[in-house]
């Protein structure tokens, strides 16, 4: 895995809002992680954890307060020329959470999808543009008839697929999916997730998949980062994080997920997490690699305990 190319490197990202005011918010506080080409990196956290902010900082909707964001080894903060910026915008795209707010209600579907095509001049003619739109609609499971309709005529799932088509229109390499399914009904969620997976395969896409729904994140992601109060708590492969959560917050989060299985549910016991107990002291904490590929936010003196826990799991496996 180490040989794979790091498409995105985030180094000590800080994103504060209302700096210097009484209501200063440290939405993202010293977050670092890498995403490899072709993988899906899941970022999981509860509301207010800063996960959406990370996504928006990465795609440069916000100007980071501090830290580096390297996309293909280039710092996105240092993209000077319009051309470079436009190139970046083509390569990285975003899928949004709210299928109702993410489409301009006053625009026809074809114009929404073609917006990127227009900006980046990807169509040779208007016929080409229409053809591209029709193709994109087909890719996301809709048909060309839908292109002249307005967003409000579509259901949530359909709208989300239109949003995906819009992102795909510029043929990006990297897509940030910001809770793309949380506003959808269960039966529709699967459609969208399947679509995302198909697209990843076909276009060799890399995803940053942001969600609070742990079961779906687990399902779709190769690796997962758990974020809490703007800080990354744990990073590991999705299997490892579910099977062997090291950080108590991760454990708590996992224990709270309801599962559609009555027997399991009858026995599930949520494990509470007390942030004050784990972060309350002023010890310096940072992400430490406990076992290869498995990072935990910890202070020096907490490390042995985590290592031991990891050992136990290894032992269990073998």
């Amino acid at each position: 895995m180490a040989a794979r190319k790091k498409i995105l490197q985030i180094k000590n990202l800080k994103q504060y809002f209302n700096i210097g005011k009484p209501d200063e918010v440290k939405a993202v506080d010293d977050v670092s992680f890498d995403i490899y080409e072709g993988e899906t990196f899941g970022l999981v956290g509860e509301s207010g954890s800063g996960k959406t902010t990370v996504g928006r900082s990465v795609i440069h909707l916000y100007n980071p307060t501090a830290g580096e964001i390297l996309f293909n080894d280039r710092d996105i903060r240092k993209l000077k020329s319009t051309k470079e910026q436009l190139q970046f915008r083509r390569e990285m795209q975003m899928i949004f959470q709210d299928p109702y707010a993410s489409l301009n209600p006053r625009m026809k579907v074809k114009d929404i999808i073609a917006e990127g095509i227009d900006i980046h001049h990807l169509a040779k003619s208007s016929a080409d543009r229409d053809a591209q739109v029709a193709h994109l609609l087909e890719v996301v499971g809709l048909n060309a008839d839908h292109s002249t309709r307005y967003p409000y005529e579509f259901s949530g799932g359909q709208r989300q697929r239109i949003g995906i088509a819009r992102a795909l229109a510029v043929q990006p390499k990297f897509i940030i999916a910001d809770e793309p399914i949380s506003a959808l009904d269960v039966s529709i969620q699967a459609q969208v997730v399947n679509l995302l997976q198909d697209l990843q395969e076909q276009h060799n896409l890399t995803y940053l998949f942001i969600a609070h729904d742990l079961s779906m994140v687990k399902y779709i992601s190769d690796r997962i980062g758990v974020i809490h109060y703007g800080r990354l708590m744990e990073i590991a492969t999705s299997d490892e994080i579910y099977a062997n959560p090291l950080h108590p917050y991760t454990e708590s989060l996992l224990s709270a997920v309801p599962v559609p299985d009555p027997q399991y549910e009858r026995n599930r016991k949520p494990i509470p997490y007390d942030a004050a107990a784990h972060e309350g002291d002023d010890k310096k904490r940072q992400l430490v690699e406990i076992v290869p590929g498995h990072f935990v936010r910890a202070s020096e003196d907490e490390l042995p305990a985590y290592r031991e826990k990891a050992e136990q799991y290894r032992a269990q496996l073998s």
Binding site: S155, D185, I188, H212, A256, P258, E265, R268, P270
Partner: protein, 363 residues
């Protein structure tokens, strides 16, 4: 078990600019004393509208086309506003989805929680305060006495939902309608609230209608489950029957499309397409267009309910004697196997803490 509430053939239309939306298209169910009935369905399936009808809280553009809602020998649909007011908050109470908007921002929570006491029990101020404090403490509001003077915005989302629950339960209602009470909450908070509700249900012996789209929550909370699709209940049964031996293809799809933490399948099972527009519901079975097991008759005629067990029935032509035998999706088959094992062991009793089962296997 006694039925505390019986809903029969409820049909509700909404007048809109585009025409009449048939939001509820003949719903019948009953609620038993002390049980938790979960109504599961997607957005627009009519589950909230049904409960609004029970409480007489439908919007003015709603028309009840037919049906009856029997509570304590009376048809609630025939009750006038004052009779409804006497029942609401006293015998039937409600919790809704968004704790951020469900409390009056300008009234102290003490006053809001004690309001049902004053309305229905004409309780003295001191007694009401004492009772309010008690109930607030019961739902886990710490330092309840002091906090009664606080306003809603001074509480976190989870705390607010606890207050809303306190408000609903303060009169020990016979029926509690919980309309997606945890959807807006984070999973960790959700877990706490669900625990609280289970705990309180036992304490005050109330029946709960639990509306949700989250099957995970249903699995943990419900005694019985009714699955709604396009304004109709399409399957009803005990929680085990629904989760381990579903009969309706929609229920299959619903259960199957949700990954568990253990799902390893390469692809999720997805119900294709989009729910029908209830302005113009399709002829026959509304699910047919999305149903890979659809039969010709599905496009002609809506299926009736076919009983499976005393507690379990489903509205699908697949249960008709003439219908071809179909194999459910693998995940359902697996669940049926688990269930068979449970039945064999006599473990299919809901809410039996003694019952333990091996963690569901993976495929």
């Amino acid at each position: 078990m006694d039925n505390i509430l019986e809903v029969k053939d409820l049909k509700i239309n909404f007048g809109t600019f585009a025409g009449d939306v048939q939001a509820v298209r003949g719903v019948s169910f009953n609620l038993r004393k002390g049980e938790t009935l979960a109504i599961v369905g997607e957005t627009g399936s009519g589950k909230s509208v049904t409960t609004k009808a029970i409480m007489g809280l439908l919007d003015s553009n709603a028309k009840i086309a037919s049906g009856s809602i029997m509570f304590a020998g009376e048809d609630l649909l025939k009750a006038n506003a004052h009779e409804m007011a006497a029942i609401n908050g006293n015998n039937i109470a409600e919790i809704i989805q968004d704790p951020m908007t469900s409390l009056d921002p300008t009234m102290t929570i003490g006053k809001q929680v004690s309001e049902p006491l004053r309305i229905h029990k004409s309780m003295s101020k001191e007694k009401a305060i004492a009772r309010t404090k008690e109930v607030l403490a019961l739902v886990g509001i710490q330092n309840a006495e002091a906090r009664m003077k606080d306003y809603p915005h001074q509480f976190s989302g989870g705390q607010r939902q606890r207050i809303v629950i306190a408000m609903a339960l303060v009169n020990y209602p016979k029926i509690l309608i919980a309309d997606e009470p945890t959807t807006a909450l984070d999973v960790t908070i959700q877990a706490q609230i669900l625990d609280l509700m289970t705990e309180l249900q036992q304490k005050i012996d109330t029946s709960i209608i639990f509306i949700t789209h989250d099957l995970g929550v249903v699995a943990g909370m419900a005694d019985r489950v009714a699955v709604m699709y396009a304004g109709k209940i399409i399957e009803v049964g005990t929680v085990d029957e629904i989760f381990y031996d579903p009969k309706h293809p929609y229920t299959w799809g619903l259960i199957n499309s949700m990954p568990t933490l253990d799902t390893k399948a390469k692809r999720l099972y997805a119900i294709p397409g989009t729910p029908p527009d209830l302005l113009d519901p399709p002829k026959g079975d509304a699910f047919a267009p999305r149903n890979e097991y659809a039969l010709k008759i599905d496009t002609e005629m809506a299926p009736p309910f076919f009983p499976i067990t005393a507690t379990h029935s489903a509205a699908t032509w697949l249960l008709h004697p003439d219908a071809p035998q179909v194999t459910p999706p693998p995940e359902i088959v697996r669940r049926q196997e688990v269930y068979q094992e449970m039945v064999d062991k006599g473990l299919d009793q809901p809410n039996n803490p003694e019952v333990k089962l091996n963690t569901p296997a993976t495929d």
